[in-house]
């Protein structure tokens, strides 16, 4: 898919991955997440190989693919609850307040109790953003985070990314759209077709 790629991202920084369709943006993100294994080379986190540190590393990042991982037959809130329970990152008493505030933050307070089946693509993305907001992870791997979102939704993404960087987190996003960050804070990585 791609070769000769070498980069490092440190805390408080973002990396915007750009490239044509089929250039391997998704493949790169999935490799970083440890879903795919590189044929050659390796991904390191704090100096340790990601693929040998599986579970520990997984708690350090969250991966949001271009399709939000939501169950159609559950409500937005039930989906969020499941995501939290799966990670086990919050004590039970904090779950509902955290979900409430995350839904408000992404502008989806009215959507939480509707079945995901009845939501539009953009509304689903907002629920997925709430899930992202709820997951305490230092690294965000975002595949097309602003697609299908209106201007207000894009602003939510931008402010969430900025807040994540401010707290020393790392964001790797594959998107062509501007995330509203200063270029030195968010360098671009151009993936080209192998010529």
């Amino acid at each position: 898919m791609f070769a000769g790629l070498r980069f490092a991202v440190s805390g408080g920084h973002c990396l915007q991955v750009v490239g044509d369709n089929g250039a391997g943006k998704t493949t790169l993100l999935r490799t970083l997440a440890g879903l795919l294994e590189p044929d050659e080379g390796e991904v390191r986190w704090n100096g340790q190989r990601v693929h040998t540190r599986g579970l520990e590393f997984q708690r350090e990042f969250v991966y949001l693919g271009h399709q939000p991982p939501l169950k159609d037959d559950l409500t937005g809130r039930e989906n969020l609850r499941f995501g939290l329970a799966l990670r086990g990152s919050l004590p039970a008493s904090d779950v509902e307040p955290a979900i409430d505030s995350a839904l408000v933050e992404v502008g989806a307070a009215a959507l939480g109790d509707r079945l995901v089946r009845s939501l539009s693509t953009g509304q689903r993305r907002r629920i997925a953003l709430a899930a992202l907001r709820l997951t305490p992870a230092r690294i965000w791997l975002l595949d097309e985070p602003v697609t299908n979102l209106d201007a207000a939704g894009q602003a939510v993404v931008a402010s969430m990314v900025a807040a994540q960087l401010d707290t020393g987190g790392v964001v790797v996003a594959a998107t062509h759209q501007d995330l509203g960050l200063a270029p030195e804070r968010c360098p671009r990585l151009l993936l080209g077709r192998r010529s």
Partner: protein, 222 residues
Amino acid sequence: MIGAALAVLARDLRLALRRPGQVLQPLAFFAVVTVLFPLGYTPELDKLRQIAPGVLWVAALLASLLSLESLFREDAQDGTLEQMLLAGQPLAALALAKTAAHWLLTGLPLTLMAPVLGIALGVPGSAMPGILSSLALGTVTLSLVGAVGAALTLGVRRGGVLLGLLTLPLTVPTLVFGARATELAIAGEGLSGALYLLAALAVFAVTLAPLAVAAALRIGSE
């Protein structure tokens, strides 16, 4: 880890409640297949009683297998399988939880339904406890072995046919011990030996199958 596994189990049960039709399908299949035998063979209960163990077990086996095809497929399609893969939890535990949900939704109802179908095959009432206990143990193994097949054929062309080819040979021991236990129950003899063997198979499957399922799921979602 236990909390995450329980969350998976609870979610799958809740999803099944929202779409009860999917739970009923394997049961209806079980009934239809069993009812075909008197029609295809003979209505004489004395003769049917002789083949009842095999009929009940093969029909339960096929019903369980049919419902397994979609065990991981929907999760793979809507992205929640990846979510589980990346949750920072041991995948084998989550796989075991999903299989447990499958057993509760398919294996257990099939077991509870078997006595009713047994009556239609001339099985005496005294055999019902034996049939219930043998099927309850056997379907656990069937769910687990089938889950391995379902994980391996995830996203594969004509996965359903392949799932049968991969899984059915591996269910031979369950079928042998299970049908024998049922036969003994119908004959009114002691069946504890066969039940021990079924239980041993179930314990073995609970220990090892989730690991194979986890490995297969990781490979399948590359």
